[in-house]
Subunit: 319 residues, 2 copies
Amino acid sequence: MKVYAFGVDIGGTSVKIGLGRTSGWLFETRKIGTPPAPSPESFLAQIADVIKQRIQARGFRAADVLGIGVGVPGPVDAQGMVHGCANLGWGDVDVKAILEQHLQMPVQVGNDADVAALGEMWQGGGKGFSNLVMITLGTGIGGGVIINQHVVPGRFGSAGEIGHLHVDGQEREPCNCGNFGCLEQYASATGIVRTAKTLLAGHPEVASVLKNAGSFDAKAVCDAAREGDALANAALGQSMEKLGQALAMISCVVDPDAYVIGGGVSAAADVFMPPLKQAYRHYAFPASKDTVFTQATLGNQAGIIGGIKLIMSKESKEK
Amino acid sequence: MKVYAFGVDIGGTSVKIGLGRTSGWLFETRKIGTPPAPSPESFLAQIADVIKQRIQARGFRAADVLGIGVGVPGPVDAQGMVHGCANLGWGDVDVKAILEQHLQMPVQVGNDADVAALGEMWQGGGKGFSNLVMITLGTGIGGGVIINQHVVPGRFGSAGEIGHLHVDGQEREPCNCGNFGCLEQYASATGIVRTAKTLLAGHPEVASVLKNAGSFDAKAVCDAAREGDALANAALGQSMEKLGQALAMISCVVDPDAYVIGGGVSAAADVFMPPLKQAYRHYAFPASKDTVFTQATLGNQAGIIGGIKLIMSKESKEK
């Protein structure tokens, strides 16, 4: 019985390799550092070696292991081809083929945000929902769209790129993607700080703890908002207005059961959820105003847990 | 062998009932008028009677007919429950249960725009694509989202409500849905006319054939644009700017293989496609700039052909 599976989460600074049962029990996690600009072949061979070593150490036979689900930090098309990972310095890499050749077992590859969304659906904040959109609020904004319990990768691997929804026609500064007025410019951790700085600069007469903070992060804005700082609340309100508007648009496209909010900023859900839900309800199509909002619960294990689910979904689909 | 299936397209003025083979060959279409404010029970009984009569006239046995796929002009949830059809004066109606009781064969129900999208995917402008978004430009804007060859209905039946994507933060007039700045206010047939009228009113100095036209429709705007009328071209450009912006956002959510444009306005694709594609490329996430744009080809048969595909998809899914 193939009751074991590996979930691999490849990131810019480290790779996490999780081993679990298909029942959902994750019982082992290994971490290896990502070398700077790793060559795909040697780096994937190194990951394969760890997996082989763990299979041997545990005394598994090939017949015990379902396969490996892998999340990578870049766009992955429906065929599993990885089209460039900026953080790794990779161009097109056939991660699936390379790992399958090393390991002689099924490998499934997805975008890391998509795989994390799958993990949250299976074992985390999205448990019980078959259709959800996960939003990861970090330095940027990542997203994953799950329909019928499966990741939607998109033609060019860009499904779930919700950080790049156009939410402001007046923006003069370009987003990292080159466009103007992307959601990520306002509602990511960076965007929340930027919004607060713009408000501070425009309202020198308003007292705020942020004024004397020099450099501050999104957590500082959320903390100040929690303490009743008017400027911090206004900044968070503006950021969540944009996010609510964007999620209302996503509901007009896929109308998910739930939005699962994760990433570093999500720890401050107590302060951002109320303005976010209010903005969502304001902009949402009348029929979709009651979509559920939840918090991600798996933290940085979402990727490896999602990896296990990814290979399970793939194998059950092909049977 | 169950090689026959019915596709039923329930509209505000008429019901089309198509009979075809599961190979895709539609060989018979019947049309009955929709009475004003029909009671769901008696009206669906009338539709069932036509189907029974056609089965009998053709000499089919129950074992020959796969079932019936039905499109209705209102939101349908994932369980097939219809939640209100404004044009029919219906509240919640279990169309599937009522028809199945009459006909004793499988019935599958979907939103009419979703079912039309499925038809276009199977036999029309979207043939060959498994992931597409259909946009119907008519009095309003309808939409259907197909992922992995299946309709995405949405939690509240609102997936594909792309006419209500928020594309303008400055709008002062409400949309029919009660919100402000919905795509439909600019890029539907009505929206194109409205855009042209606003430009005419704001630029009395500009010569335009539309100026003396009194009341005009979207076709007149497209015709004038084709003849080189500067104001008509500017109006169409503004409308397509909003539509391109909206489709670029849809690509950030589901990144489809193709956009299939249908509805009355789509006959003027020669004049609106160039500005639409230009606006799309301008706003699209860099990876998704080359999404395919096609025209719908099935016209008002898309609903019945999609109905046949709907019941085929359902039956193959359950096997």
